[in-house]
């Protein structure tokens, strides 16, 4: 394989469409080719910029109503339909939802018990991170750049992985403030979705979870490892998030056994 043909595969690889065997060959090449690595990092940067800056839109309510009326007009009247309610909670267009959701979560935080308040903190952190320029303090797809960046900024060194080969590329990391302490936030991508993973050292206990909750169209998954308490939040589908948590936990236990 020539260098050019490897570079041509990077997009396919990041799009999760490269066959597993080819992906492994490309990963081997990436590890030793600074040009290809630069090319890949440029693409990841672009992806993060698109996620942060190019919005999706929500169909105007009037359009929704007209289409619905047309659909119902073409059939006999039926029992009440369920989906209008679901639609309200579907992940909203970023611009429209930020203010509402952030305000809502702050108000609720005041009324909730500690666990709930923490979940609200995590959600607020996620929403904050989606505002332009807030996603990462250290934008990098290289775990060996992101992990050391936390040195001197936190009193622990969080585990950082890159699952680009599985379609969950590392986008970077940042420090956030959750539950009354500074915590590591690791940012992963999945297509146009952002996944925030927040974690901090936990009093040593048995591994548990993940437990799941959904609020305001975002999923929050919470689990603990022997060393850390972990939160994940994203608007990605629950099945894929659970797959991602599985990947993280497998990587954790592989690292622990080493």
């Amino acid at each position: 394989m020539t260098h050019a043909s490897f570079e041509a595969q990077v997009d396919t690889y990041l799009d999760g469409e490269l066959a597993a065997g080819d992906a492994r060959a490309l990963e081997t090449h990436l590890a030793q080719c600074p040009d290809c690595t630069r090319f890949r990092d440029g693409r990841l940067e672009l992806r993060a910029a698109i996620v942060a800056g190019v919005p999706t839109f929500q169909a105007p309510p009037a359009l929704h109503e007209r289409v619905l009326a047309a659909a119902r007009g073409s059939s006999s009247p039926r029992a009440p339909h369920r989906f209008t309610v679901q639609n309200v909670w579907r992940p909203l267009a970023l611009a429209a939802s930020l203010a509402v959701v952030a305000l809502g979560s702050w108000t609720l935080a005041l009324q909730r018990a500690a666990g709930e308040a923490l979940a609200d903190d995590v959600l607020a952190s996620h929403i904050r991170s989606l505002m332009p320029g807030h996603l990462t303090d250290v934008p990098s797809s290289d775990q060996h750049t992101v992990k050391p960046w936390f040195n001197g900024r936190l009193d622990y060194s969080p585990p950082v992985y890159d699952f680009a080969g599985r379609g969950y590329p590392l986008l970077g990391g940042r420090i956030d403030y959750v539950g009354g302490r500074a915590v590591a936030a690791l940012v992963y991508g999945r297509r146009q979705h952002v996944i925030n993973v927040l974690l901090w050292p936990a009093a040593s206990g048995p591994a548990s979870g993940p437990s799941t909750r959904t609020r305001q169209g975002y999923h929050e998954l919470h689990w603990t490892t022997p060393d850390y308490t972990c939160w994940l939040v994203s608007d990605l589908g629950l099945a894929e998030l659970q797959e991602f948590v599985l990947l993280l936990r497998q990587a954790d236990s592989a690292a622990g056994a080493r």
Binding site: R43, I50, F57, A59, L63, V67, A71, H81, R191, H193
Partner: protein, 165 residues
């Protein structure tokens, strides 16, 4: 299931995706609304011919109709649009814009030719697979890949220009 209920279950959940695609194809909220409505009426009419049951394929099917509606709509209502749009966009650059990154990247996307813009929207915003994009746009997967690659290179240039500024 008769067609109205089937439409609500299969097609309506993808209304936001349809509207987003139309917004980027037309770059205009009102046109996008008209096109999506038009496309939904067509979808309703042809739903019986649609055999797929899976949610993702219903989405690709609706997006195909939106895309084709937008193209024929453009020919009918804006026959000169294809010819002048690039000049227009270049000129509009002279206007002072808020120099935020999202503005620049968004405008760079708007300046791409429609066949490049649509693959970016379908891939990066809608998360469609190469196969689905190929189905929606009616071009081979190889063409989808090369268009994506060229479009991304253009957008990265725009991003770099923004960083330099």
């Amino acid at each position: 299931m008769e067609s109205g209920a089937r439409f609500e279950a299969l097609v309506l959940p993808h209304l936001d995706a349809a509207y987003t695609l139309a917004r980027y194809l037309t770059r205009n909220a009102q046109d996008a609304e008209d096109i999506v409505q038009d496309a939904c009426l067509r979808a309703l009419k042809y739903l019986e011919g649609f055999r797929g049951e899976e949610a993702t394929s219903a989405r690709a099917w609706l997006l195909t109709i939106v895309r084709n509606t937008a193209h024929s709509w453009r020919k009918r209502h804006r026959p000169d649009a294809l010819a002048v749009e690039f000049d227009e966009m270049e000129h509009s650059d002279a206007v002072v814009h808020d120099p935020e990154a999202k503005e620049t990247l968004g405008r760079a996307l708007d300046r791409l030719a429609p066949e490049f813009r649509e693959v970016v929207v379908l891939r990066e915003l809608q998360g469609l697979s190469y196969k689905e994009i190929s189905d929606v746009t009616g071009v081979p997967i190889g063409t989808v890949m090369s268009r994506l690659s060229r479009a991304r290179a253009r957008l990265q240039e725009a991003l770099r220009e923004e960083e330099v500024r």
